[in-house]
């Protein structure tokens, strides 16, 4: 069990923030490269004219999900110390719906 590396090794703020910046670069590069910087392209998924956002999102979710399950099943990744979103059912239902309205109006 060696991961999450920064949590188990108790790394300080400096190195953590640097890693956050590098991870962010990967995130920003990926979404721009996939066309998620274009509001109209994003909105087109809601008219079934361009489903690339769907494809990117669910491919990414499945890839990361498989990785997490695989690494935790061979004992390398401790999911207990990972930050996993808690459930707030009613707030989530309302917030998700409002975000959906905002998404189709603003395009992001």
């Amino acid at each position: 069990m060696f991961a999450p590396i920064a949590v188990i090794s108790e790394w300080g703020n400096g190195i953590n923030f640097l890693l956050a910046f590098l991870i962010g670069i990967g995130f920003g590069f990926a979404v721009e490269r996939g066309g998620m910087g274009n509001a109209r392209k994003l909105a087109m998924q809601f008219y079934f004219r361009d489903m690339s956002v769907f494809k990117i999102m669910f491919t990414a979710i499945i890839t990361a999900m498989f990785g997490i399950i695989l690494l935790s099943s061979i004992g390398w990744l401790n999911v207990d110390v990972m930050l996993i979103n808690p459930t707030y059912l009613w707030a989530g239902l309302a917030g998700g719906l409002i975000m959906g309205f905002g998404f189709i109006l603003s395009g992001y």
Binding site: I23, A30, K55, I56, T63, I68, M82, L83, A91, F101
Partner: protein
């Protein structure tokens, strides 16, 4: 006739080459997300970084208010600097990464993405209104499309799947009525 057809084909090819294959991008993004979990023990996010900016303003106006609200205090209670957060540095990276990708693809320009039937001004008004709703919803649901749909989705957080599905319900149900904005 022949030239116009080949020109059309050329234009179409250009359009297709504009962005990378969504499946390749998806796998790459999934690996970035997985690395984030392996390295930092947490996933990607976006709206939380804006929360830091909001709390910084609130702190400047009334420190008492921030201290007395547990949610705000988490960001900037007492001596805490709201900008010394993992997500703030991650978002700075997102800006840099997007800029690098845009530079590689020659896409850096000022533009207003909208449908052909509205003006730029109308688009900006709806962008602000939609952004207002999205920001409000993101705080209510404790996360946006990155923090809930992507990260919560991959870590199989039940509440995040609820938020993700409700986002689709909201957007698809309103899409028909605001189609003039986009198509």
């Amino acid at each position: 006739m022949g030239t116009s057809k080949s020109k059309k084909r050329e234009l179409k090819a250009m359009d297709n080459n504009k962005y990378a294959s969504p499946y390749i991008v998806g796998v790459f993004l999934g690996l970035v997300l997985l690395s984030s979990f392996i390295i930092s023990g947490r996933g990607l996010g976006a709206s939380g970084a804006f929360m830091s900016a909001v709390v910084a303003v609130e702190k400047a106006v009334s420190q008492d208010h921030v201290d007395n609200n547990a949610y705000l205090a988490h960001y900037g209670g007492g001596e805490k600097n709201p900008f010394k957060k993992w997500l703030v540095f991650e978002i700075l990276g997102v800006l840099a990464g997007g800029l690098i990708s845009g530079a590689f693809a020659g896409r850096i320009k000022v533009e207003t993405n909208r449908g052909p039937r509205i003006t730029n001004k109308q688009r900006w008004i709806f962008a602000a209104a939609g952004g207002f709703l999205f920001g409000f919803g993101a705080r209510l649901a404790r996360g946006c499309a990155s923090g809930n749909a992507l990260t919560g989705g991959a870590s199989l957080a039940l509440g995040s799947w609820v938020v993700m599905m409700m986002m689709f319900v909201g957007a698809y149900s309103l899409a028909y009525f605001v189609r003039k904005l986009w198509i």
